[in-house]
């Protein structure tokens, strides 16, 4: 949910800040979409050829995700989870600090 909030914020500000750049003429960037499209297609083909003949034996995961809280809080992953929450807190406080108007 934090992630959804961050991404929505990003998109709204993109629309707001991208308005000023639409008016500018894009000089010497005519070839840039073609070059980057070429590299994107290259990466796509490389990865597609690499997965084309993959045959892996599957085993089903249980459909409901009720195992998830016990997996997080009752196993060895509880310490990384707490460290991650501290990391998120530090990132948010840092973002507020460096974008503060002073």
């Amino acid at each position: 949910m934090v992630y959804v909030g961050g991404v929505v914020l990003l998109m709204v500000f993109t629309i707001m800040l991208a308005r000023e750049s639409v008016m500018k003429p894009l000089v010497n960037t005519v070839r840039a979409p073609f070059v980057s499209g070429f590299f994107a297609v290259l990466v796509f083909l490389l990865l597609f050829l690499s997965i084309k003949h993959v045959e892996l034996k599957s085993s089903e995961l249980s459909k409901d995700y009720e195992f998830l809280p016990s997996l997080i809080f009752k196993t060895k992953y509880v310490l990384p989870f707490e460290i991650l929450s501290i990391l998120l807190l530090v990132a948010f406080i840092g973002a507020v600090l460096i974008s503060r108007r002073d």
Binding site: V2, Y3, G6, V7, L9, L10, M11, F13, T14, L17, A18, E20, S21, L26, T29, A32, P33, V35, S36, G37, F39, A40, V41, V43, F44, L47, F48, I51, K52, V54, L56, S58, S59, E60, L61, Y65, F67, L68, L71, I72, Y77, P80, F81, L84, S85, L87, L88, A91, F92, G94, A95, V96, I98, S99, R101
Partner: protein
């Protein structure tokens, strides 16, 4: 579901992300395209977790999403600061460090 179809979806997301990162000039556009790449990686974790029946992949997705949220917030703050200082959010107009 077929494994290869799901992996194909992930590859398509990754290719769109590569295209966006390389062709965008707006720094926020680059951030959004970077999100596509992150999401395709997370989607791969989910696909293989479901395919092999290993629940630790779901856990990895949760960790990865939290890391991505932190990264987005910091990158966004940097772009806002850049827009305030230099009055632009275009990535190639920030050439103040050019030697």
């Amino acid at each position: 579901m077929d494994l290869n179809a799901l992996l194909l979806l992930s590859i398509i997301l990754f290719s769109f992300g590569i295209y966006g990162v390389l062709s965008r000039r707006n720094a926020l556009g680059i951030l959004i395209a970077l999100e596509l790449i992150f999401n395709s990686a997370n989607l791969n974790f989910g696909i293989f977790s479901k395919h092999f029946g290993n629940p630790e992949g779901i856990l990895t997705i949760i960790f990865g999403i939290a890391l991505t949220a932190a990264e987005v917030v910091l990158g966004f703050a940097i772009v806002i600061l850049l827009f305030r200082l230099r009055k632009t959010s275009q990535a190639d107009e920030v050439n103040i460090l050019k030697g």
